[in-house]
């Protein structure tokens, strides 16, 4: 049984489909990267996985149990086992708590530990995420963005979660700090063995972190492929567009600007921006088809 299963998950706000027919399995200890532009529904998906919003239809199953049919006890256990780290670390930590208190807070909620036990664990966690103990009694305002992100990570892994949802954790950081946080997460994952949903718009970071990469566009999955295949073997035109944009920015290739088609279409969500769009794409929504054993593509052009 997979650790997390998303089964035909949909979330709509009025007429707008934020997440549409999303199906995905995440195994114990696996890292799945989720990549897409802003507004594609990445953060909505994170909120659905954490049980913060109720899906319009479909299920989120944790070890086979539906999040929204859990008993109170199961729900509380889930809240411990699934933890989340947010994009803006200075906004996700309470400015009125010291860093030490912040790290201890989840433990106080879920474990019946003595104060000494909690303090000891919190200090060990701070060392694990590479922070000096001098900061234990300081407030987040005394820390830089990268350090706050380390505190948020320590807080999340303190209750031994089995699933960690990371929503754009490196987006607001300098490149040199990004590298430190990515390495830290890779080390912790090896040591603690939690599964990871790594959400980012940075293809390089996603490939570095993930066993599998899911490419999302307007709420739907466009392509699922192994992380190491991302640069060379991506098949979907949208994934290729993202890759081309990246090498364009880095000055490696020239790129022809493509003018989007005007109007609204019933079919493939990417049709308006797709350089290979065919008649069929206008009318029908392509479903996710297996390309090789662990590579799936939702595109008529590539079949």
């Amino acid at each position: 049984m997979p650790l997390l299963r998303l089964n035909n998950l949909c979330k709509s706000y009025g007429k707008f489909q934020a997440v549409d027919s999303f199906t995905l399995d995440l195994e114990e200890g696996e890292t799945v990267g989720l990549v897409g532009e802003s507004g594609c529904g990445k953060s909505t998906l994170a909120a659905l996985v954490m049980g913060l919003i109720r899906p319009t239809s479909g299920q989120v199953l944790f070890e086979g149990r539906d999040l929204w049919k859990m008993t109170g006890k199961e729900w509380k256990a889930y809240r411990r086992q699934a933890q989340m780290v947010f994009q803006d670390p200075s906004a996700s930590l309470s400015p009125r708590m010291t860093v030490g208190e912040s790290i201890q807070e989840p433990m106080r909620n879920f474990f019946k530990w003595s104060k000494e036990q909690r303090m000891e664990k919190a200090k060990r966690l701070m060392a694990d995420v590479g922070l000096s103990l001098e900061g234990f009694n300081r407030r987040p305002s005394a820390f830089s963005g990268g350090q706050c992100q380390r505190v948020a990570i320590a807080r999340a892994i303190g209750v031994s979660p089995r699933l960690l949802v990371l929503d754009e954790v490196t987006a607001s950081l300098d490149v040199s700090i990004q590298a430190q946080i990515l390495n830290l997460l890779a080390d912790l994952r090896k040591a603690e063995g939690f599964g990871c949903l790594f959400i980012s718009h940075d293809l390089g970071a996603v490939r570095y972190m993930s066993d599998r990469v899911v490419v999302m566009y307007l709420g739907r999955i466009m392509e699922v492929l192994p992380g190491e295949d991302l640069p060379q073997n991506a098949k979907h035109p949208y994934t290729q567009l993202l890759l081309n944009s990246m090498s364009f920015i880095e000055g490696q290739t020239a790129q022809e600007p493509f003018t989007p088609k005007e109007g609204t279409f019933q079919g493939c969500p990417f049709y308006a921006r797709c350089p290979y769009g065919m008649e069929r794409c206008k009318r029908e929504i392509p479903s996710l088809k297996s390309f090789t054993q662990n590579h799936f593509v939702a595109c008529f052009y590539n079949l």
Partner: protein
């Protein structure tokens, strides 16, 4: 002939800071050239741009050096004269363009106001011109009737670039213009900046924390660390054969797609104690020698061309 922009020994000191935010920086920029300035947050990139524009907040304790645009000294220029230069001689695009547009006015109104004041156009003709300008940066003309908050980040950035197209500034200061945008939009914005350079012959000072992002359009790159320029040279030379250990670190720590999957990302070592003298990067430098902590290295020609401030690799 003197270059378009000359910055010489420019320093800005904030109150209650132990070192200047911008420390003895010298740069020059020719017409139509693009200079990329790269460095971490807090290295003084934004203070440098504000200094060139002459925007000094009250907490500035002292300014030294010289900033000349077309031979005219900008430091100490009366506000009224500086105001005349803004827009047509120099223009700025900020990272969060939402804050540079007036939130209470529709885009069309802002266009007509600026075009009216700077180019003397009537309301009608400025609206016709504005439609043309928006088409040039791939934006629908309906944007003119919207408020800034109704636009996406990429659209707001392009509205500012469209204004720059109209005013044809000799110098465009772009402070992290693509950092807050998606990769696909980043590419478009960079392409439009390239067009601006080609069609209006504008020189661009492009600031970013990501070396990769400036390498597309910059002719030259300056790498800043803690207020000082540590490496300065042609883009391809700095990108392909960096000399300064800090530049090497900045390039190596980006999770590039061409990196082998199993390879760990390079981490620039953490600094130890406070800076006490000598090279500012010494406490984090993997190549340091005893000299580094005693004496500050000067910016001088390096072995691979360009300028480098380092004792070990000069």
């Amino acid at each position: 002939m003197e270059p378009l922009l000359v910055v010489e020994h420019f320093s800005v000191q904030y109150q209650r800071m132990d070192r200047p935010a911008v420390d003895d920086v010298s740069l020059s920029l020719n017409p139509g050239q693009v200079l990329g300035v790269v460095g971490e947050s807090g290295c003084g990139k934004t203070t440098l741009i504000k200094g060139i524009l002459g925007f000094f907040p009250h907490c500035v304790a002292g300014v030294a050096g010289s900033v000349r645009l077309e031979g005219k000294e900008l430091l100490g220029l009366p506000d009224k004269e500086r105001r005349n230069l803004l827009g047509t001689s120099m223009d700025v695009i900020a990272q969060d363009s939402g804050t540079s547009l007036n939130p209470m006015k529709r885009i069309g109104k802002q266009f007509s106001q600026i075009l009216g004041e700077k180019l003397g156009l009537s309301y009608q003709s400025s609206m016709i011109y504005a439609r043309e300008l928006l088409a040039r940066v791939n934006c629908p003309k309906e944007l003119l009737n919207r408020f800034p908050f109704q636009l996406s980040g990429g659209q707001r950035q392009r509205v500012l670039i469209a204004l720059a197209f109209a005013l044809r500034p000799k110098l465009l200061l772009a402070d992290e213009p693509t950092s807050a945008l998606d990769v696909t939009v980043q590419g478009q914005v960079l392409r439009e900046l390239e067009l601006l350079r080609r069609d209006c012959k504008s020189a661009i000072l492009l600031i970013s924390h990501n070396l990769g992002a400036v390498s597309r359009i910059a002719d030259q790159v300056a790498v800043m660390y803690q207020g000082q320029v540590v490496e300065y040279g042609e883009t391809h030379q700095v990108m392909d054969t960096p000399s300064h250990p800090y530049t090497k670190g900045l390039i190596a720590c980006v999770p590039s797609l061409s990196l082998p999957k199993s390879q760990r990302l390079y981490n620039i070592p953490q600094g130890g104690k406070e800076w006490e003298g000598g090279c500012r990067f010494a406490s984090r430098c993997p190549e340091r020698i005893p000299d580094c902590q005693r004496q500050a290295p000067q910016l001088r020609p390096g072995k691979k061309g360009g300028l480098v401030a380092c004792h070990c690799c000069g």
